[in-house]
Symmetry: C2
Subunit: 290 residues, 2 copies
Amino acid sequence: MKLDKNMNILIVGLGLLGGSYAMSLKRQGFKVSAITRSQKSIDYALEHGIIDKGTTQIDPELIGQADIAVFALYPNVFKQWLIDNQKYFKPGCVITDVTGVKCCIVFEIQEFLRPDIEFIAAHPMAGKEVYGVENANDKMFSQANYIVVPTSKNTASAIELCRDLGKTLGFADVSELSPQMHDEMIAYLSQLTHCIAVSLMCCNDFRGLEHYTGDSFRDLTRIAKINDDMWSELFLLNREPLLLEMDKFRRSFDELYTKLKNGDREGMRDMMRTSTNRRQRFDKKEKNDK
Amino acid sequence: MKLDKNMNILIVGLGLLGGSYAMSLKRQGFKVSAITRSQKSIDYALEHGIIDKGTTQIDPELIGQADIAVFALYPNVFKQWLIDNQKYFKPGCVITDVTGVKCCIVFEIQEFLRPDIEFIAAHPMAGKEVYGVENANDKMFSQANYIVVPTSKNTASAIELCRDLGKTLGFADVSELSPQMHDEMIAYLSQLTHCIAVSLMCCNDFRGLEHYTGDSFRDLTRIAKINDDMWSELFLLNREPLLLEMDKFRRSFDELYTKLKNGDREGMRDMMRTSTNRRQRFDKKEKNDK
């Protein structure tokens, strides 16, 4: 199944990501509607031509028109929304999402979902330390990765549609992972980095710090401005994989600590060389992206 | 004492930083010479108008002409260079540096230095994951901090000259710290961040990682491409303060780990809010820089 401009796309949750999806799709000529909690967001999106129509209500007619529904909600809210409102979708509707954790939602949703609609999970690896549709920006996808997260229950056609959505949105790279692999990867690549940034900000409170800062500290702590409501939920929903990655990081950090303490310069250099070599891989990617 | 375009400025060590100093000063009309190990660097710098003259030799005449000498060498090489060659400086010459650690060199150098020349330490908080004069770029100072690190042995006049150098080079912020405070600060703001980035790269070796990466991981590991020769020396020269900061970080990281393990969502959110609040301070700075 391919995306087609006559399709009605419903965005549920018009925040930074939902808003950026809407902006991109609307610009490309799709019919985009939205359901979100705040009237302010709907008003803003209508005024700025980000959506065609929108409401803060559960509007059965609007839901029933959707060929594709994209959910950009917190995981638990997302699940509950579907339980309450899946009855309004028309048969054949394809549901996808932007949720940052997968095992805890995908299997359960696919279990309770009506058999005539399909949920294909996806994770756009894009985001920013700002919120809301007011900050929506469809340019932010162009250097970002998009991961489709199918299970054995998904049809080839829905997987293709979901990949096509990622490409249409302009993501630099579209790939596929199982929910388990996704959660393990995300625990390492995204959640662990947020744990580190938060811990780094919490461990010291020098005043006037900002006079002495170099780029490395700024880069490492950019994500330390964190949506505590969302991330604490994401951490807890992916607790086991994240604890495992935190363990691994701690072992590695402790190894460096011990080498420094023992004055083991060669040992430290070994770790630095490993780190340098592994980091090269990301460079190539960054170059191709541009 | 103010900088003056008739002054001869000698750069010792024409790498990324030394080269960027030379480029900036030469463009502004100062007479800039250089001594460095590699003839290739001298040739490049002469061809590109980064220096007026340069040599790979210890040239007593060139050294004797310097009103200001800036050392951009590894700490131990720097010390040895001065021991061997300080005899060639003319009386009144002011020496400064770019070294990333201070206690381990400043006091010792001020102890053995000829009484008629003065060493005033400085730390430009600029750098990149590339090396060599070929990558020199005087624009990189415009958003960076510059720290003058005086001791009780320094004269007000040399401190002023050193601050003036930082301003002339175009640094966004020029401040002062004692060597002890500097090393403590740097252990936290710079060395610890490098330890974290290296540990993060070393703790996992997923293949194909780059397909799934978001910006947070890229930002955190930019500095994981690290000059192992230089940084292992810097770490060892600042071992005690760095071990202390590593301890603090680990306690903070462990606290978050325990909270996650115990499902203590409010506790995690507390840490995230602290982190978010502290990180705001850096934002303002970033805005002012621009």
